[in-house]
Every structure is written in structure tokens, then in C-alpha cells.
Amino acid sequence: MNGRFVIVLGLVVAAAVLAFPPAAAASHEIVIGLQCDRTGATQVVGVNLCPGYHDYVGLVNSKGGLNGHKIRVIEIDHEYKVPQGVEAYERHKKEGAVLISLYGTPHTYALTQKLTEDRIPGTSPGFGRADAADGTRYPYIFPIAATYWSQATAAVKFAGDQLKSLRGKKIAYLFYDNPAGREPIPVLEELAKREEFQLRLFAVPPPGVEMGAQILDIAQRYHADFVIAHLFGRSPSVSIKELRRIGYPLRKVVSFVWGAAEADIEAAGGYGVAEGYNCLEFAGVGENYPVLNEIREMYKKEGKEPPKEMASTVYYNRGVLIAAIHVEAIRNALKAKPDGRITGEDVKNGFERIKGFTLGGLVPPLEITPTDHEGGGWVQVWQVRGGKLVRETDWFKAYPEVIQAELKQAAMKKS
């Protein structure tokens, strides 16, 4: 009896909920589908990134929206599971979303074909498939931030700058042993050939919390001159702790974007332990950006405290960056159709016209074009110094010709 009752009740509720949206649609609300992970394997990202997204959109709406059209964000948590992600996408589509903010590499792969068929753009900032930077092959997938290939080239460039020259140096690549972790390997190997440095790979098997042997190898047998780390979830903090314990200088370590947040440093034992650790970032870090002040103002006007998530600036700012680029794309789309009846295709074209939009330094100087959906692949390096993250370099990108060659090769393999 119970089972049927619950299901029937659920269906009734579902029907009741779904009956409402058509009434709201009349005011040309623009719907964005936001996939989130607040409870799954990478929940440390989601709990801070998604509030940032909502706050930026809230800020835009509090100023009257875009040309008078409000933006509605429908967030669905998919627990980092693919079937839930597929369901979330179908629901977003049903609610009329013109843009999907994907979250998770497997989800990006799973939804690429559907997004393309349905002509709804999806963004995969900092994760997903690196070859989606090629807009001619994947017209509806937008990485909008540095892919793993761009992060790899940037990390090598940074290592080269720190070591003065790469020739004959020993570089260790410490990575989480899954497709996302392995994706940059061809690029790193190509760079090793080109810059004549020695590259050795150190895989950390999932779940990535056990890497004593790899670290020992890196520090005491291989004697690496520089370590490039590409880890997820809990493992970045473990790597910091282990490297520190063995006495490896952390200023000779640079981490990819998902091992580069306050949460990782705190989990490793605090800023004192992580002193010197270098982080690649695709969004500006810290609290001193005009847009963040505006968000604080907005909360003050409502008589509320700014949310505590703002303190976790790396992920929060990334949420703001993603939302800001989305809003820019919609703004561009509205230029063509001011009545607000935009489609996914319009938003796609809107993305491809984004240029010179920096949000006071929080967003890199990206330029998204119909062929380059990555927008250049810009990163900054931030270093843990004296109890906080300090900006070490300005926005930069490196070896674009290597990435171009890699993209070309990927396209060849496909056809």
C-alpha cells in the first residue's frame, strides 16, 4: 500500500508543480538550467560555486534584469551521477532553458550529443572535454575557461619561468587516474619533446587519498625539479600534506584548477602547511572585485548578511564568473531579439560574440569565437604566501600552437 501511495502522491505533487510555470512564461523570463553537485563526490566545489552563480544572477535581476527580462535559474543537484544529470537536462529542456550550465566531465560527455541535437548550448568551464574548444566540431559545447590542455601548457610555462629553463629538467606529472586526469598527457608529452625536458607520470588510483609511494618516488628517487599536480576531491589536500611531510618545496608544485581552492589548503592543515603551493585559477581569487562588492551591497540593502560561501573565494568567484559569462551571452542574444524570446541558438551566437568582458579583473580577457569556444584558455597563478593566496602572475596562456595541433589531430581521428 505504502509504495503505491508514495508514488501516487509524488505524481500528484509533480503534476501540481509542473502546472505552474506556463503562467510565469508570459513575462519573457529567460530560463537557465544549472546542474550542481552539492552532495556527491565533488560537493566541496558545488556548495560554494552554485551560491556564487545564484548571487550574480540575483544581482542582475535586482537591477531589473536584462532589457527588463528577468533570468530564472533552475538548479538541480545530480549527486555527480550521470542518470540524474540526464534527467536534470530533460527537465531543464522541458522548462524552456536556453542554456545549460553543465557540471562534471562524465555529464559533459553524456549530454554532448543531446545538446547538439536540441540546439541548446552547454558550458563546461575548467572540466569536460578539451577537444570541445573546437567550435566547428562541437557547436553547442562551450568550455568558456581553460581546458585541461590549456592548463597543462600553462603549468609547463609556469614551471619553465620558475626554473629559468626547461631543458634537461625533470618534471613530474602527478594525476588522478581517470580520463580527466589522463587527458593532458598527450599535450605534456608533446611539450616534453619540444622543450627537451624529462617527463614522468605518477598516477594516483581512485579514490586518490593514498599517494605516499608516488610522492616518495617524486621527491627522493626521481628528484623532480617541478611537480605538476592534477587531482580532484580530497586528494589535492593529501598531496600537499604528503609533499610537505617529505620536505619537498611546495613552491615547486603547481596544481590544476580543481586542486587550487581554500578548502584544499585548509584540509591539508592550513596555510602554514601549504606555504608556497601554486594554484592555477581560471577566475580571479579574493574578495576585492567590484562585482563582489555589489553583491555585498545587494545583501545589505535586503538587510541580510552576505552569505558565508563568499569567504571561499576560489569556488565562489568561479560561480560568479560562470554566471557572468552566461549573462553576457544572453545579453548578446537579446541584442538580436530584444523581445526576450530567445532560443538556444541565439544564446550560442551570443557566446560567440563575447569579447573584452573582464568584470574588473575577475574574468580573463577571453574572446570566444565560432571556432574557439574556450575563449583563449587563460589562467592566473596564485601562490599560498603568508596565510593567503597571492597573485603570482597575470592572465596568461602558453603554447597555443601545441593545443591547435592537438585539436586538429582530435578532429582528424574523429573523421
Binding site: I7, V13, R38, E87, K93, P179, K413
Partner: protein, 355 residues
């Protein structure tokens, strides 16, 4: 009720062996088929069909796992990996040899059957938890191989895009087309399972589950039937993987990790071990319950929490509610939803009389 079971006289073995001996059961099955094939696809929107599609895929996998765990009494924690075997076999066939889906689908299943039988070899010597660990090892080995052998996985990203399946020049791409495609597969899977279970093989499975030594003494070749059970069950898993691949348009190994194996075990335990209907109930329950909980919370959560807090609370509360509901159902009826359904049915069978 409206039908009577007395006066149903069976005069032949065929009648006794029939899948649905009672006329009402046949009508019910016919009615459900009519609803599924004609009414639902016309009445429902794409979104609801997409939910049914996810359930359909899960039904095939749960059925296969139930054949092994529920009917033969062997446990497997490696079904996620068998699905990936099917998925990558089909994807490679589809991309390299341009095989159509009606070749890639059974071949993906067959490949999974072969690998499944291999992983099932330890079942000849060990049982229960030990077998669970042995199949767990199988899961990790297969995962590792797919992740690292680029000949299988098609590159370091370990994902292969497959073209949409085509039938008579018609591309199966929309949720509606996919719905019919998956429904036909589910029907085939259910009919095959039902028939298998009333055959010699099915009876051997049950004998092994109930007492393997006794089964051996009455002349059942345990070696053979255990491996057959693994092979058939893995065939279903492989087909699930292929269906999933065609549904998404990409084979990606991260969709078949250990949590998937656990999810499917949860489905058959909640649905009811050793029951075809239970597998279906379990697949529906585990797939749809989180979604229904979310809808319920979106509708009523606003009464208690502020919108910003709600966004954080919904996913967490959903996990808790999901766990609690599973426990409630298992406490109410340890033998699963199928038993619950039978209790309800038996109650109404003699209704309004108590006996």
C-alpha cells in the same frame, strides 16, 4: 473481485506451464502493453518519456542481476563493469566497423557474457561475501583495463561517440523514438527471463540457490549452471550498457563505476530478490524516488526555509529521505516491493471476505 480462480482446470502440461494461467492476468498484461505502447507515448511529453527511458534501461539491468542474485543465489558486485564491456564492445563495433545497432547490441551482450562467465569462475569455489569480493576485483580490473588500454577505450578520454541507431532509414534520436526502441528491448528482456525461468535452466538455477549440494546430488551440473547464470546475467548487463550507450550517444567508462553496481543491487533488494516483477518495481523505485522527492521538496520546502537555504537543503534532505524510505520499505516488507504488491493482491483477492 471480478474474476474467480475456481473452475480453472488444467488439462495439459502446456496449460500448467503457461506464463499467465488466469484469463484476468492475460487481460491485465494486454492492457498494460496497450497503455505502454499506445497511450503513454501519445499522452506524455518528452520529459516524462525520458524518465521512462531511464527506468527502462534500469529494468533490463536489474532483471539480469536478479537472475544471478535472486534466482541462482550468486552475488555479483561487478555488473557495472559488465555493462561497460557491453558498451565499449558495441561502441567499437559501431565506430570501427560501422555495425548497425541490431548487430552491435547482441554482440555487446555476448562479449559481456563471455567476460562475465570468466569473472564468475571463482563462484565455483566460493560463496557469499567471498564471491562478492572476487567480483569486486573483476569490477576494478575491467575498469582499469578500459581506462588504460586505449585500443578499447579509444583514447585517454576513454569515451567513444556512437552514431544514433537507425532502423529502416529512420534515426532513433528523440526521446519518443528512443522510448519505443527501449520498450521493445525491455519486453524482449522480460519475456526471455520469464521463459528462461520456467525452463530446465531456470529450475536448475533455483535448485542451486536453495541448496547447491542437494542440487548436485540430484544431478545438476553446478559448474555449468553457475557459469550459465553468470553468462546470462552478464549478457543482460552488457545489453544494458549498450542501450545506455545508444541512449546517450557516447560510451564513457565513468558511467559504469562501482556505484552503479551497488545501485543495481539496491534495486533488486528493494524490489524483491528472485522475482521478475520485483526487478521492475526496484528499477522504478530507485530511479524515480529521488526525482519525486525533489519535486515534493520544491513544492513544500518553501514553507519552511528561505530560497537560498532551500537550494542547499533539497539535495541533502533528498539523500536522507531516500535512505530512510529504503529502510522503511525494507522494514515493512523485508522481501521487497514485489512481496508488498502480492500482499495487497492477496488481500483483495478474497475481499470483502476475510478468508
Amino acid at each position: 473481485m471480478i474474476h474467480r480462480e475456481c473452475g480453472v482446470l488444467k488439462t495439459s502440461y502446456e496449460a500448467d506451464m503457461a506464463l499467465y494461467p488466469l484469463p484476468i492476468a492475460r487481460w491485465a498484461v494486454g492492457a498494460i502493453a496497450a497503455v505502454m505502447f499506445a497511450v503513454l507515448p501519445l499522452a506524455l511529453g518528452e520529459y516524462y518519456l525520458s524518465l521512462i527511458n531511464l527506468v527502462s534501461i534500469a529494468v533490463v539491468g536489474a532483471l539480469g542481476l536478479n537472475l544471478l542474485v535472486g534466482y541462482t543465489g550468486q552475488i555479483s558486485v561487478g555488473h557495472g563493469a559488465f555493462m561497460s564491456v557491453g558498451a565499449y564492445t558495441a561502441a567499437n563495433l559501431a565506430v570501427r566497423l560501422h555495425a548497425p545497432f541490431w548487430i552491435a547490441l547482441p554482440l555487446g551482450g555476448l562479449m559481456a557474457a563471455v567476460i562475465g562467465a570468466l569473472v564468475g569462475i571463482p563462484s565455483l569455489r566460493i560463496k557469499g561475501l567471498y564471491l562478492a569480493i572476487a567480483t569486486l576485483a573483476g569490477q576494478f580490473i575491467i575498469e582499469w583495463l578500459i581506462n588504460h588500454v586505449t585500443w578499447i577505450s579509444g583514447g585517454v578520454q576513454a569515451s567513444i561517440e556512437v552514431p544514433r541507431p537507425r532502423l529502416f532509414g529512420f534515426e532513433i534520436a528523440s526521446q519518443r523514438a528512443m522510448y519505443f526502441f527501449l520498450l521493445v528491448c525491455v519486453v524482449l528482456a522480460i519475456v526471455a527471463a520469464l521463459n528462461l525461468l520456467r525452463s530446465r535452466i531456470g529450475r536448475a538455477f533455483v535448485a542451486i540457490r536453495d541448496h547447491d549440494i542437494a542440487a548436485e546430488i540430484i544431478g545438476i551440473d553446478i559448474f555449468r549452471y553457475k557459469l550459465i547464470a553468470f553468462a546470462i546475467s552478464s549478457f543482460y548487463a552488457g545489453v544494458t550498457g549498450v542501450l545506455y550507450t545508444y541512449y546517450l550517444g557516447v560510451a564513457n567508462y565513468e558511467q559504469f563505476q562501482i556505484t552503479v553496481s551497488i545501485d543495481y543491487l539496491a534495486m533488486i533488494i528493494i524490489g524483491g530478490l528472485g522475482s521478475v516483477l520485483g526487478s521492475i518495481f526496484g528499477a522504478i523505485f530507485v530511479t524515480l524516488l529521488p526525482i519525486l522527492i525533489r519535486y515534493a521538496m520544491e513544492a513544500f520546502g518553501g514553507l519552511l526555509f528561505s530560497p537560498a537555504a532551500l537550494l542547499n537543503i533539497i539535495p541533502n534532505l533528498r539523500l536522507i529521505a531516500f535512505g530512510v524510505l529504503i529502510m522503511v520499505f525494507l522494514v515493512v516488507e523485508p522481501e521487497g516491493l514485489n512481496r508488498l504488491w502480492r500482499n495487497i493482491r492477496n488481500y483483495f483477492r478474497v475481499w470483502p471476505f476475510a478468508y
